[in-house]
């Protein structure tokens, strides 16, 4: 029997049992769709996080007390603004150095209030972190130097406090102290379920006064070029260690952060894919089961085909192709369903999803392979049937 003929026979058999074929495929469809969808979500999340870390600005160096390691306890920062000056001298350009001291606080305006993150910063922040304003202006050096009570609102805070008013020039109360709104950030959106527009920037000096401290949490430096970024980090850490011999400091680059995040999200994606793979396997067992039923049900057909000249191989190939067709068609359908769902999830939910060609190729390849693996036993059984016994079967 010719190969094309064998495909046709297998296709006819599936068509003759439409409902059963569809139900059998369902297992494979769900399996493949979930592989595609979950891998898309994993990949999408990873891409988005990477995008956001990169979006922080290029050649960024974050300097924090303590070791940057998963599971280490946060260290109380010994840093203050004099350390910032020292770092600026190491860097050679104060415009490349940003700081932060952050705390949660309730922001009030009139009768409205919003719990948000208040960040004490230098006027350098937009340059270092590549932030832009939708309205008004950012903090100036003078604002910082004079601890002026001015604030720049994140888009969410602005919306929460001033839903129907222009926030510019309005008063907000942070921890009981009144600040004047001078600017509103361009929205950043969400990442990993965190609203990145839920923040208020005030001069670091005003923040220190507000919370009664001389400390800052950390320093960020925008390195002049990528090549010497590690070297610069080492020099900054050395300088800070000299100034605070009791404390350990770390300088991490975006690449290192991306590496760590990428590893975590890669594992997450793998776990999701494995879970989905199990459902694909279950689908394969279903195919095997149905093929065995099909062989039993069509025993007389097998006997007849053998009587008119089908060789054992012809019969085996017919049933194997049937199984492969079942899983391949199911695989293609599942791929379409998975891609469609992923696009939908990406469009209407905050969960990002990105389709990758390898997940499609893998899902389809695996489903076809599942057909072969789980089709072999029923096919062999069919091929070996004794025609006389098969013809006598009821």
């Amino acid at each position: 029997m010719r190969v094309a003929e064998a495909w046709r026979v297998a296709l006819d058999a599936l068509r003759a049992n439409r409902l059963r074929s569809a139900l059998t495929m369902l297992g494979v469809i769900i399996g493949v769709a979930s592989v595609v969808l979950l891998v898309a979500i994993g990949t999408g999340t990873k891409q988005k996080v990477e995008q956001q870390v990169e979006g922080l600005g290029s050649n960024l160096l974050l300097v924090v007390p303590g070791k940057l390691d998963v599971g280490t306890a946060p260290v109380v920062s010994p840093l203050d603004l004099k350390d910032v000056d020292a770092v600026s001298r190491v860097v050679g350009d104060p415009g490349r150095v940003a700081v932060t001291i952050a705390s949660g606080a309730t922001a009030r305006a009139g009768t409205r209030s919003d719990f948000t993150t208040v960040q004490g910063v230098l006027e350098t922040t937009p340059a270092v972190f590549t932030r832009s304003l939708a309205r008004g202006r950012y903090l100036t050096g003078a604002d910082v130097d004079t601890s002026r009570r001015v604030a720049v609102l994140g888009a969410s805070v602005a919306r929460a406090l001033f839903p129907d008013r222009d926030p510019l020039g309005q008063q907000v109360t942070l921890a009981g102290v009144r600040f004047r709104v001078i600017g509103v950030f361009t929205p950043l959106g969400q990442s990993l379920g965190v609203d990145r527009d839920d923040e208020v920037h005030i001069p670091v000096t005003a923040a220190q006064r507000l919370w009664g401290t001389q400390r800052i949490d950390g320093i960020a430096v925008k390195a002049p070029d990528r090549e010497r970024i590690d070297q610069l980090g080492d020099r900054i850490v050395a300088e800070l260690s000299r100034r605070h011999p009791d404390t350990e400091f770390s300088a991490v680059t975006q690449q290192q952060i991306l590496g760590v995040l990428g590893d975590i999200l890669g594992v997450l994606t793998g776990v999701l894919a494995a879970i989905a793979g199990i459902s694909l396997l279950v689908g394969g067992v279903g195919v095997s089961n149905i093929m065995l039923v099909s062989v039993r049900e069509r025993t007389r057909e097998i006997g007849l085909r053998k009587a008119v000249g089908a060789r054992p191989r012809d019969i085996g190939v017919q049933f194997l192709l049937e199984a492969v067709l079942l899983t391949s068609i199911g695989g293609l359908t599942g791929m379409a369903l998975g891609v469609g769902t992923a696009l939908l999830v990406d469009a209407v939910s905050p969960i990002p999803a990105a389709i990758t060609w390898w997940s499609l190729a893998l899902a389809f390849g695996v489903s076809a392979a599942v057909g072969i693996v789980f089709g072999v036993v029923p096919a062999q059984r069919a091929g070996r049937l004794d025609p006389v016994v098969a013809l006598r079967a009821e």
């Binding site: 026979v9 057909e301 008119v308 000249g309 054992p312 191989r313 013809l391």
Partner: protein, 292 residues
């Protein structure tokens, strides 16, 4: 005409059922000549179907020698035997065995699929064959849209579409009423004459067997008689001869099996049942015919 279509020499077939040996055939010798018309008659369970399956290469003997189309079955692999079936044998079964949900043409074309004939040519040949069995107007019908007689005609067309040397029919009228059965028998006989295909028809009905010139009576896995009759066909007139060849009438089993029959078979030890010399060699006038 020189080479027998099928030759069985002392063929036996024993089934193993849960360690118990069930001898279905116990040493049968039989030669089917080209174009012959042979009725195989015997009571239920006598081994007729087993014999037919062996003659058609659907099963292998557990003893003896079986040659189909000049090839010794014992020397053939399973695929070779399948190809031999495809090329030289056509089967017609009591239960029709048509593929459901498949049109008459495609059912008839099925053997050609395994011969590697292209789709279009297959359909043409199948349609032509259906025309020959009087179903040229039923090409696209599925089995469940056809009467029993029509279904059996489709099965006959399927058996003959490969132009085989031998047509093996196992109780072809068993599932049909007498009028329809009669028409099917007439069709088989006409095709036997027209195309020269040897016709071996298994039946338990003496009246059906009486239509054939040569009648082989099987009982308990042995051939009890193998006789040639001068007056084949016709319904009522062949009555005495019918009884002659039918071992189903119990008192006649040993003694009454045809004139001049040498071995009675009451002992049955020899196995090789005596054969009558056959006048003319073949039953049908069709001669060698178009055996492919």
């Amino acid at each position: 005409m020189t080479v027998a279509a099928i030759e069985a020499v002392d063929v036996s077939r024993t089934y193993e059922l849960d360690g118990v040996s069930v001898p279905a055939l116990r040493g049968v010798s039989l030669t089917i000549g080209q174009g012959e018309y042979v009725a195989v008659i015997g009571p239920s369970g006598s081994g007729k179907s087993t014999l037919m399956h062996l003659l058609g290469g659907l099963d292998r003997p557990t003893g003896g020698r079986l040659v189909i189309g000049g090839r010794d079955v014992a020397t053939l692999t399973a695929p070779e035997l399948a190809t031999l079936r495809n090329e030289t044998i056509g089967f017609v079964f009591q239960a029709f065995h048509l593929l459901p949900r498949t049109s008459a043409v495609d059912n008839v074309a099925l053997p050609l699929v395994y011969r590697g004939v292209g789709a279009r040519q297959r359909r043409e040949r199948a349609a032509a064959m259906l025309g020959r069995v009087g179903l040229g107007h039923r090409l696209g019908h599925r089995p469940n849209q056809l009467s029993g007689g029509e279904q059996q005609r489709v099965a006959i067309a399927r058996a003959l579409v490969t132009d085989p040397a031998v047509l093996l029919a196992d109780e072809p009228t068993g599932n049909l009423d007498s009028a329809t059965g009669e028409a099917v028998l007439e069709l088989l006989e006409r095709l036997n004459v027209e195309s020269g295909v040897a016709l071996v028809m298994v039946t338990h009905d003496p009246e059906v067997a009486a239509r054939a010139r040569r009648r082989v009576a099987v009982r308990d896995g042995l051939i009890r008689s193998d006789t040639v009759h001068d007056r084949p066909l016709s319904g009522g007139d062949g009555r005495p001869e019918t009884l002659d060849a039918a071992p189903s009438a119990e008192p006649r089993s040993a003694s009454g099996s045809g004139p001049g029959h040498p071995s009675g078979g009451s002992g049955g030890a020899t196995g090789a049942t005596g054969r009558l010399p056959r006048a003319g060699g073949t039953g049908g006038p069709g001669g060698p015919g178009g055996a492919g």
